[in-house]
């Protein structure tokens, strides 16, 4: 039915690899989607060498958060900012970006304009967290 859901997302939703709130963390960033009640917190530990997300929301958001952690752990703030922009481009246009690897699984979101905010929400929370480091 919907490639987007079939391709990847559900795997990450059912068994997220980086979910949960660590006992200790250096910084936190939060995001909320006022329209649907989606909520996400991103935790940064050991200066970005470890990231976690605590996600309450739809599959697109949860999968996006989990994939994002894979893609950004250990990266510099500048790199992450560039990635966030590249990712936003992918989900807005539907054009995959070879440099983004697994994140391209969410490219199909572009077909659902009102869901793009779900995909980018964790990224906004991460950028906020990085400002708090």
């Amino acid at each position: 039915m919907s490639e987007l859901y079939e391709r990847i997302v559900l795997e990450r939703v059912k068994r997220p690899r980086h979910a949960g709130r660590p006992a200790q963390f250096d910084a936190r960033g939060q995001g909320a989607n006022r329209l649907c009640g989606d909520k996400v917190s991103i935790y940064v530990t050991r200066a970005g060498m470890q990231l976690h997300h605590e996600s309450e929301g739809c599959a697109i958001m949860v999968a996006s958060a989990d994939l994002m952690v894979d893609a950004t752990t250990g990266k510099t703030a500048a790199d992450i900012h560039a990635l966030a922009q590249a990712f936003a481009e992918v989900v807005t246009t539907g054009t995959e970006n070879p440099a983004l690897g697994e994140l391209n699984a969410l490219a199909g979101v572009f077909e659902f304009p009102s869901r793009i905010g779900c995909a980018t929400l964790p990224w906004r929370a991460l950028e906020e967290a990085l400002q708090n480091v």
Partner: protein, 412 residues
């Protein structure tokens, strides 16, 4: 399909709605989001086109033919609305943009003049934001108190809570929905009005959802205020109505100032027109009002009792079929309920449900439905909602069930 709908030719009625022929993602459109806003029949579209093509000018102030004809058509809708909800007089009908503005108008004018600091406005746990936020704003600006009447797990008004809220005699307004836009619950408005009046309070009834599905009689229910929006009643956007008893309107100060709402203007002092014009400042939504008139004619010709019976059958069918889907839970089990059904599904977030159904051409709404506090009461952050209209078919409900089965499999 065992249920059949007699005396109601849905197929023929669907022909009246051009949009129902549209395809979505290559699939037939199954529009189950009419509680958010209904589709428009040909006669409404035609009425609006007719104004713009053949009979348009600003109203009230013109002495020429086009203005007179347009004024007549505009004012005739006031009579239609009055008759439709059985108001005692056309002058009890104020045109607004939508139900939201109607309620805010009451909060700003009646609320700030008839209510004193310390007076209480009571609402229920299942109000739309439109019937909550204006009273919060009044509380914060004017010093009134806001109390919340609880609902039961079934999604009905908790009468004990109602009595508690009214116990100290300070409640001066009960503002309550006639039909929940989340749970489909009808509230017993006649009984609530009696109760409120016996306790020295007025009652404002949010008829936004109910007016679409049931015959309304504001005098039989003894409403002090009754509000609704045109766009849910198969009419255009941009037009709604406020009904209020004549003696209440008479004492209400104006809301917006400007043209058409004045009796005379001088720099020192202006005096106000009589109701309803006192509350209609500036150029009104002329084209939309005339469209609303056509919508009222349309539903009246079909007949609210027939529409209600049709939708009752749809609702019963949905309540029979949907719970068969594994992991699906319908919220609210009120005795008296109509064709607005909210549900959640195990593991599938409401937004994902809506998106996946959309790919199959099925339009449902997902989110908090402008009732955030109610979501908290129900222990969810959002729900998916299917809602029915006079053009909804049993087959569409089956399509929904089938679509939900596919969603379930994806998330299984």
């Amino acid at each position: 399909m065992s249920t059949t709908l007699q005396t109601f030719d849905t197929a023929a009625l669907r022909e009246d709605f051009p949009i129902l022929k549209e395809k979505v993602h290559g699939k037939d459109l199954v529009f189950l989001d009419s509680a958010a806003s209904a589709q428009k029949p040909r006669v409404v579209i035609d009425a609006m086109v007719h104004v713009m093509e053949a009979q348009y000018a600003n109203v009230h102030r013109g002495l020429h033919y086009m203005s007179e004809k347009t004024s007549d058509a505009y004012e005739a809708v006031r009579d239609k609305v009055a008759a439709f909800i059985n108001a005692g007089s056309r002058d009890e009908i104020v045109f607004t943009r939508n139900a939201t503005e109607s309620i805010n108008l009451v909060a700003y004018t009646w609320g700030r003049s008839a209510l004193k600091p310390g007076d209480v406005v009571a609402v229920t746990e299942m109000e739309h934001h439109a019937n909550l936020v204006p009273w919060q704003m009044l509380r914060d600006a004017h010093g009134t108190e806001l109390r919340i009447i609880k609902i039961t797990d079934a999604g009905e008004i908790d009468w004990n809570s109602l009595e508690e809220v009214f116990a100290d005699g300070r409640v001066k307004l009960l503002a309550v929905t006639q039909m929940s836009n989340v749970l489909g619950t009808y509230t017993p408005v006649e009984r609530l009005a009696k109760f409120a009046h016996a306790h020295g309070a007025k009652i404002l009834i949010d008829g936004c959802q109910a007016v679409v599905h049931r015959q309304i009689d504001v005098r039989a229910m003894d409403a002090d205020f009754f509000v609704f929006s045109g766009h849910k009643l198969y009419g255009p956007t941009g037009i709604g109505a406020l009904y209020a008893k004549a003696e209440i309107l008479a004492d209400m100060p104006p809301f917006l100032g400007g043209g058409d709402m004045i009796a005379s203007v001088s720099y020192a002092k202006s005096s106000w027109a009589k109701p309803p014009h006192r509350f209609e400042a500036g150029t009104p939504a002329i084209i939309e009002t005339i469209g609303l008139g056509a919508a009222i004619d349309y539903v009246s010709a079909i007949g609210l009792p027939a529409i209600a019976a049709h939708e009752q059958a749809l609702t019963e069918h949905a309540l029979a079929v949907l719970p068969n889907i594994e992991g699906l839970r319908i919220l609210g089990t009120a005795q008296d309920r109509g064709g607005v059904i909210s549900f959640v599904m195990k593991d599938a977030h409401a937004h994902d449900i809506a998106t996946l159904l959309d790919r199959q051409g099925i339009a449902v709404r997902a989110g908090h439905h402008c009732a955030e506090p109610l979501m908290g009461r129900l222990g969810v952050t959002s729900t998916a909602r299917a809602s029915f209209a006079l053009y909804t078919t049993l087959e569409e409900i089956d399509a929904l069930a089938k679509g939900l089965e596919r969603v379930r499999k994806i998330f299984a």
